[in-house]
């Protein structure tokens, strides 16, 4: 025993890993270039696939002739809709997305697939696409959601263009506005944006000798992939095995099917492994985006700044297929009164089908859009009422005892006020007492600086009555290794490190004794989707429970073997301590096995129940809160905006790994910055202009401000060690903090994203200097 162990044993005070800076489990391999992403896998005999996509935005297919493509040397299969053995459509919420568009059917966006090819080489597969003849009849294009709702618009789907009308109702709007001393009304627009994860999509489907199909893919929802692929093949789920690979980023963009079904169909047809790699062009054209929105906000407040009524009307561009639009736009709608208590609230959202690429999940999940609108309005309200914008937020902020616009009484873990106060004091420490006043940059009079402020909240978990559960398994091996198994996805966010920490914590074992296996539908139980900032909470809880269940099993066996009361048994440094005996964990595993017990535990964790929208009660089991302040500098000659400082405070319940959390906050902030200033997936009548990375500007390192990260901990009693979700909340207040700062610096109110920086230069003349 080393001294540390002796001390630990003597003091019986196990050292906690929770809250310690732990480096990423997979970092050494990634830094060495050894990590195998999907495209790095090469299977013997593998064919290469290519997809013929519609060149038209909206059309009816009259004829598809693949005979010349089939005859091309090297081509093994050319498939059309008629060749799909199982279900023709897929979709996580509503299966309305055809895997291939058949003759007589409708093309609804430029990414729609008409035919798929498998050939010996990628070049041959691509060459075959040119030989496929398609006749189609162009149809009028619906390019935006407002147009889609007009009565004379053509219908894109059987039930029309309205995917969903989402409603929030609280109190009495007439009364709310009658009680207001000031009513403001304004309309905001947000742009379509792309995840631009650095790794484009890739799927490899491999038929096996025993008649199954293995699918190597980077997916945020391995079990949903398995189900959707199996349905397309007309198979039971179990015949498909998804072997998830580490992903080069996801951010919500790897939840939908993107190539998995096509690769599987071609592998099934050819009997050979098939690799389907998207290049960046295809990735940008095909996969779901962040919803473009139009959001009208009408807000009433009393002279003292207290909100009396918030009314919003949202249009969400769902694009051609449903994807997750129902859920995303629901979140946009329910969060559209901001993180504030208002006695009267009403929201109506129209999620509309259009001929644009489908919109789906993207970090922030709709709240990014409504937060921009509502936080801009709060700032304008403050200005018109002559109240400090931070103070106005403080007066209305949700706190314990508040009731949200959906009727949820918040009974714990509401750290919003502390977030606001901490950011405010850090901002004023740096900027003095008048941070929102425009200040010319000394020596550069054409540059103006000012601060902006914003707050936000975001649910953790699926909520809205959806069953939210995760299975997880923890096993102890005779070599002393502990293994956690769950299908949840590692996108780079650091989930596997958090799970490793949880198991190590529960057994007081060294971190390197714990390994984590994820994303394999044969080997790991279903952890549910990696979405909604839910994995730390839901899968974290599942792994925590599995670890505790296994530990209790160990304790029972040890108690019997050494005739000791269970309360006397301790775990320290990978050892079990019983009555003065010490046994390495591996030995305990051997003892368990010799006595006929299995040293593993499988649990199914159910998150606290939630209620559907409209039912009142707990729509979500937890919320994370945040406040941010941005200091920006505008070049008034060019309109160019540089963010100088960004102060971010986030209530995450409990910090598990501060290093991982910092990474989430800083990455989220930069995504919010891009959303404010540079990112715009440009579409012209449904045709993407942003069809390559050079035409879609994600922020680079020269745009990174000094990011000051403050952690706020208001524990959630049901979270693992008190933790809540963090992945999305960190990105949400950034955009309005920046746009509010621009307004303070220039006098130009920003109502459209991304900020048109030239327009600032034109409209801002004479202001702020």
């Amino acid at each position: 025993m080393n001294d540390a162990v002796k001390d630990a044993v003597k003091n019986r005070q196990p050292a906690s890993l929770i809250g310690q800076r732990i480096t990423k489990l997979d970092a050494p391999e990634k830094a060495a270039g050894k990590t195998r992403y999907v495209h790095d896998i090469h299977l013997p005999g593998q064919l290469h696939a290519a997809i013929l996509r519609s060149a038209h935005v909206h059309a009816v297919i009259k004829r598809i002739d693949v005979s010349r493509a089939r005859a091309l040397p090297g081509v093994h299969a050319v498939l059309t809709a008629a060749d799909i053995p199982g279900e023709h459509t897929h979709g996580i919420v509503i299966p309305d997305w055809p895997s291939l568009i058949g003759v007589g059917e409708r093309v609804r966006y430029v990414g729609d697939a008409l035919a798929i090819v498998a050939a010996e080489t990628r070049e041959q597969a691509t060459a075959a696409l040119d030989l496929i003849e398609v006749a189609l009849e162009p149809q009028p294009v619906i390019a935006d959601p407002v147009q889609a709702r007009q009565i004379d618009s053509p219908s894109l789907h059987e039930n029309g263009n309205l995917l969903k009308h989402i409603k929030v109702r609280k109190g009495d709007m007439a009364q709310g506005f009658a009680e207001a001393d000031l009513i403001l009304e304004r309309t905001f627009h947000t742009a379509t944006t792309d995840h631009a994860f650095l790794e484009p999509e890739c799927s490899i489907a491999q038929p096996t000798a025993d008649g199954r199909l293995y699918l190597y893919v980077g997916s945020q929802i391995p079990y949903a992939d398995r189900n959707q692929v199996a349905r397309a093949l007309g198979w039971p789920d179990e015949r498909v095995r998804v072997v998830g690979q580490l992903m080069g980023g996801g951010f919500g963009g790897k939840e939908d099917i993107a190539g998995q079904i096509h690769a599987a169909l071609l592998a099934q047809a050819t009997g050979r492994p098939v690799k389907l790699l998207y290049d960046r062009h295809e990735s940008l054209i095909a996969h779901p985006k962040r919803h473009a929105t139009q959001i009208r906000v009408k807000m009433g407040a009393r002279r003292d700044g207290r909100l009396t009524a918030v009314q919003t009307e949202l249009y969400g561009d769902a694009g051609a297929y449903a994807s997750l639009s129902d859920k995303v736009m629901t979140r946009a709608t329910t969060h559209s009164a901001g993180p504030y208590e208002t006695p009267h609230a009403r929201a109506d959202c129209y999620a509309m089908y259009t001929n644009n690429p489908p919109s789906g999940a993207f970090r922030g999940f709709g709240v990014t859009q409504s937060a921009f609108a509502v936080e801009s309005m709060i700032d304008e309200l403050a200005e018109q009422l002559g109240i400090d914008p931070v103070e106005l937020r403080r007066r209305n902020a949700l706190r314990v005892g508040s009731v949200t616009n959906t009727g949820q009484l918040l009974h714990e873990s509401v750290g919003l006020l502390e977030c606001i106060d901490r950011v405010d004091s850090e901002m004023r420490r740096r900027a003095g007492n008048d941070p929102f006043r425009a200040r010319p940059t000394p020596g550069q009079e054409h540059r103006v600086r000012a601060w902006g402020f914003a707050a936000a909240y975001k649910n953790t978990g699926l909520g809205g009555g959806a069953p939210d559960r995760a299975q997880a398994e923890v096993e102890l091996y005779e070599d002393g290794a502990l293994e956690a198994r769950v299908s949840s996805a590692e996108l780079g966010q650091g989930l596997v490190t958090v799970l490793q920490m949880i198991v190590a914590e529960e057994f007081q074992a060294p971190l390197d004794q714990v390994r984590v296996l994820v994303m394999d539908t044969d080997l790991t139980p279903d952890g549910g989707p990696t979405t909604a900032s839910r994995q730390t909470f839901v899968t974290g809880n599942a792994v925590l429970q599995a670890a505790r269940t296994l530990r209790e099993g160990l304790v029972r066996v040890l108690a019997e073997r050494f005739d000791a009361p269970p309360s006397q048994i301790r775990f320290v440094e990978g050892l079990a301590l019983v009555n003065g005996h010490t046994a390495p964990l591996g030995e305990v595993a051997a003892i368990m096995k010799s006595e006929g017990h299995s040293p593993r535990a499988l649990v199914e964790y159910w998150a606290p129940a939630t209620q559907p929208l409209g039912a009142g009660g707990d729509m979500h089991f937890a919320y994370s809160f945040a406040a941010q302040a941005a200091e920006i500098e505008v070049n008034t000659r060019t309109g160019e905006v540089q963010v100088l400082t960004l102060i971010a405070a986030t209530d995450v319940g409990k910090v598990l790994n501060p290093l991982g959390l910092l990474g989430q906050v800083e990455g989220g902030v930069m995504m919010g910055l891009g959303n404010a200033l540079t990112e715009h997936f440009i579409l012209e009548q449904g045709v993407p202009f942003s069809d390559r990375l050079a035409r879609y500007r994600i922020p680079n390192i020269t745009q990174t401000p000094e990011i000051v990260v403050l952690h706020v901990e208001h524990p959630a009693s049901t979270g693992p060690y008190g933790a809540k979700g963090v992945g999305e909340i960190v990105s949400i207040p950034t955009t309005p903090a920046i746009t509010n700062a621009i307004t303070h610096a220039t006098g130009v109110r920003i109502t459209r994203l991304p900020v048109d920086q030239e327009e600032i230069a034109l409209r801002g003349e004479g202001r702020g200097r």
């Binding site: 050494p28 990634k30 060495a32 050894k34 992403y37 960046r280 990474g663 800083e666 990455g667 990174t704």
Partner: protein, 157 residues
């Protein structure tokens, strides 16, 4: 199809001779012919920097070069950066320690851009680091930890 050309080059200290198509990209050559998959392709047109490698000691985007252009050259990819197996280059160690990577897809490009640059700029300022890395995109980290990692590596080097 065009006829192939014979090239010979050194990659990570090992000599290779291969018949290649003249239009084969250097990135594809490394990944598919030599199975050096640590060099990643993110955009195929020189925007993201993930495919950065060293050609005769100079950082280049391997997606913007043909393999035949590397004929007779000495190449270094991320697989050859560490001094030995099971070891990490100071930059790699610092990227791990400072949490300068998340998904890791862009990381090899950052490391290969930095390796020759740091050797020439042993005491870089934040501003210099940012300028040096302005052609590499990362979508996960927000870049702040990358700057910290470079400073950490500069101290180790």
């Amino acid at each position: 199809m065009s006829e192939t050309m014979m090239i010979s080059l050194t990659v990570n200290g090992q000599r290779y001779q291969r018949q290649v198509e003249p239009r084969l990209l250097l990135s594809d050559f490394l990944r598919h012919e030599l199975d050096l998959t640590g060099t990643h392709v993110g955009c195929e047109h020189g925007v993201c920097g993930a495919c950065t490698i060293l050609v005769d000691g100079v950082a280049v985007r391997s997606c913007l070069m043909f393999a035949v252009q590397a004929d007779g050259c000495e190449l270094l990819t991320v697989e050859g950066l560490a001094p030995g197996p099971e070891q990490l280059h100071p930059l790699q160690a610092a990227f791990r320690q400072a949490h300068a990577l998340q998904c890791g897809f862009c990381t090899p490009g950052f490391l290969m851009t930095l390796a020759p640059w740091l050797a020439q700029h042993p005491n870089p300022t934040d501003e210099e680091i940012r300028l040096a890395l302005s052609g590499n995109l990362c979508r996960c980290t927000g870049y702040q930890h990358i700057v910290e990692a470079v400073k950490m590596a500069a101290e180790i080097c």
